[in-house]
Symmetry: C2
Subunit: 218 residues, 2 copies
């Protein structure tokens, strides 16, 4: 399928490899294929955005609920970052706006992935019910998690975070800070974040052994 080829090209060679002629060559067809099936490059980019959010959703729904909702929340953050690092160019298309020259996304395209926030909203509600977070707006908390971690991931993908304040260090600090600012106690937050790190390590080891990674890239 053309979408699969496009996803592979995007992951392996980056945005500049996504051209009608390159796709035609790769699919053994003509440049018209993109237009008959997607109405142009914009339509194909839209499909890529949907695919990107589907992969994100797959990562987020993969975190299991435990009796430590704050650790679950931290794990959601780790899953978000993990997905972005596994599909960096796809993530750039999802949020980069005009990452591909001149291909502006529709308002509907931009808001399409909003459903993935539901995972975070539900988890925030559980944190409220457990008395770990101040009882405030769960959606607002979700938006704060989203924008803060999105910002860190964006800077990381752009190679703006370097030693000694590399992305790993900033991310761990960011996770704890987010839990604290939502109302959790500092030591409790640090403990839950540490627990989430162990759960994440176990997760990637298990799926790494099964070779289940969604995408690899250089």
């Amino acid at each position: 399928m053309l979408v699969d080829i496009a996803a592979r090209l995007l992951a392996e060679e980056g945005p500049q490899a996504l051209s009608t002629r390159r796709l035609a060559t790769e699919a053994d067809s003509s440049t018209m294929a993109v237009y008959t099936h997607f109405g142009g490059m914009s339509g194909l980019v839209r499909e890529m955005v949907h695919e990107g959010f589907a992969r994100l959703q797959r990562h987020l729904t993969h975190v299991r609920q435990t009796d430590d909702p704050v650790a679950d929340m931290a794990l959601l953050g780790r899953a978000y970052r993990h997905n972005a690092l596994a599909n960096p160019h796809l993530y750039a298309v999802m949020f980069g706006g005009s990452s591909l020259a001149g291909f502006s996304l529709t308002e509907e395209d931009r808001q399409h992935g909003r459903y993935t926030l539901g995972n975070v909203v539900k988890c925030a509600t559980r944190c409220f019910e457990a008395g770990r977070f101040r009882a405030e707006d769960a959606e607002l908390v979700a938006h704060q998690m989203w924008s803060a971690i999105h910002g860190l991931v964006t800077l990381e993908l752009g190679d703006y975070l370097i030693a000694p304040y590399d992305a790993d260090r900033c991310f761990e600090a960011q996770l704890t800070a987010l839990m604290v600012s939502s109302g959790d106690a500092l030591d409790a937050a640090a403990s839950s974040v540490a627990l989430s790190r162990e759960r994440m390590r176990d997760e990637v080891e298990a799926s790494g052994a099964a070779g289940e990674e969604p995408a690899a890239e250089g």
Copy 2:
């Protein structure tokens, strides 16, 4: 100067207006001008990045130190956002990575603007000395402020934040959350953030009356 024309085109018409032919037309010269002066579009983009960070620095150094360092810190956040909203396309070039198709920035280009973080680091140190922040790494705090607010601004510029959780609301919440997670008490943080909002309002009214805005855009 070619850089001024480029900055104007970028601000008024967006990234796709930045082409050698368009610049040649606008400057009444040929396409070679970009190559003799900047060695190509990449060089011109680099100059734009430098200009963008210079404007950011101008905004950041414009916030005055008061006896409420947390309010000063919040005002730095507001200044950062204000600069990004005043120069949205320029901000996209600074951090969008490949906002312009295929023009990858050098490692030196990406790290060039790092000096602007110094304003935040100094302010964080003052927050420590005032006993408002937990005495930890000032640079780490600065990085957290940076990535969190950068993430929010990025989502805002990309029109990802819509009512009822619009950018204004998320930003105010983000500011308070950042101060709280750095160690400030919730009510103290909220009070300083509110104070910073008033100072910001006075600021834009004063400079607005003098017509001193750095750039306007549709």
